[in-house]
């Protein structure tokens, strides 16, 4: 029980100007962390969203959409990161490759579930009005599916940020570096400070995206939706995942 003095050292770490400048400083680590997270989620969205919208529109691939994300939960993030390094070498590249691979399945699943959740009557009314398949997809189904799609995207983004902290093991940048380097040098003050930064980043991301979501897709219960629940993966599931990662 070393609480008081230890926490004092952590405060001193944060107050130390040396930890605020240079490539190993907090600002640079923050940008690295944000970059890895957003580049990964952007690539994953470009792949996953159209696929989910299309499968949901066609009503095909339910089994694939659900099972792929269930299998995804069983693959440890650490394993995927280290295995990717064997192909790409260390650094930010394996981190981004692994993070994209981890986040595409839940994005597809959530988009699919959101699309299938669109009322059958609405779908048929659109059909009866003579709308083409493309019009139904873009003007009716996708907008109605948006709240669930956004909820899924938020869960996936937070999960990606969570896993990105682990990517420090394979020499990528970001706040995870403080934890991994601190563990290697038994500098537990730095480990703790890094953990505070990682946790703060993820919690702020979750809250921030929640606000964006409320603005873009207001008026729906989101957290309790079965699809959002399923996407937790871990965290996160995310964890979930996927769960916590």
């Amino acid at each position: 029980m070393i609480a008081a003095t230890f926490l004092g050292e952590v405060v001193a770490w944060f107050a130390d100007g040396a930890n605020w400048s240079g490539p190993g400083g907090i600002p640079n680590r923050f940008f690295e962390y944000a970059e890895i997270t957003f580049v990964s989620i952007a690539i994953a969205s470009v792949i996953g969203l159209p696929l989910g919208f299309l499968l949901g529109h066609l009503g095909k691939g339910a089994l694939v959409a659900i099972n792929v994300s269930n299998i995804g939960r069983a693959i440890p993030s650490l394993a995927l990161l280290v295995l990717t390094v064997q192909i790409t070498g260390i650094g930010n590249t394996p981190a981004i490759v692994a993070l994209v691979a981890l986040s595409v399945p839940p994005i597809v699943t959530n988009t699919y579930v959101g699309m299938r959740g669109v009322d059958r009557d609405v779908r048929e009314a659109a059909h009866g009005m003579g709308m083409t398949g493309w019009q139904r997809l873009t003007r009716v189904e996708a907008p109605l599916a948006l709240p669930l799609v956004m909820a899924g995207l938020r869960t996936s983004t937070v999960q990606v940020a969570a896993t990105a902290s682990l990517a420090a093991v394979v020499a990528s940048g970001g706040f995870g570096r403080y934890i991994v380097d601190g563990l290697a040098t038994q500098d537990y003050v730095q480990v703790f400070a890094g953990a505070v930064l990682v946790a703060g980043f993820c919690i702020a991301l979750e809250l921030g995206l929640g606000l964006v979501e409320a603005r873009v897709a207001p008026g729906r219960v989101r957290l309790e939706s079965p699809a959002a629940h399923r996407a937790v993966p871990g965290l996160a599931g995310t964890a979930a995942p996927a769960g916590p990662s």
Partner: protein
Amino acid sequence: MSTLAANGPDSWLWWDWVVRHGDEIWFRTKEHVFLTVVSVVVGTLLAVPAAILGSRTKLLATPLLLVGGVIYTIPSLALFALLIPWTGLSRTTPLIALTSYTLLILFRNTLTGLSSVPDDVRDAAHGMGYSWGRQLLRIELPLALPAIIAGIRIATVTTIGLVTVAALVAQGGYGQFILDGYQRSFRTPIVLGSALSILLAVVSDVVLVGLQRAMMPWTRVPST
């Protein structure tokens, strides 16, 4: 795929090495299973009673879900790191963190299960003169069981994946193979540790599905 079958130190999986490390595989399996089982069992023992209380009053459920949600957002490596000053590099560190995660999954699922019991059923039980305790044990919990077991399955598979991270705080498990292989640029332990972790997750899930069917012959719940 040719390298997969090839038998040498440079292949993805060098069988000779695997065969020679049978003892270590067994040892790491015990570590991995121990951390998983304790986290899921303790999580269940805490979450189910908490959810029973939570289903009676929002006063308990709302703050628990809120705190749980915040903890759930913290990545495992960071949560381990936050616990180190208090519990050190011991088994307690990953156990507390992993139990917290399972706790939230199970609390949420049990709460959902209990709240899905139809009011008619509750009224009927009440009308038949069931006491509070008997109604809970004979009516509500059995009806919530599919949701609880679904939660246990998610918690178990998730925890098995997260236990690999415990190797970073010196607690072994299959993650130790992955880290060793990474540090030595030796693929076999990496592939072995990853495969064993996935295998354990799949086997555990199959066992839990079997258990679910054995315990609840009256229902066949599709997997979530």
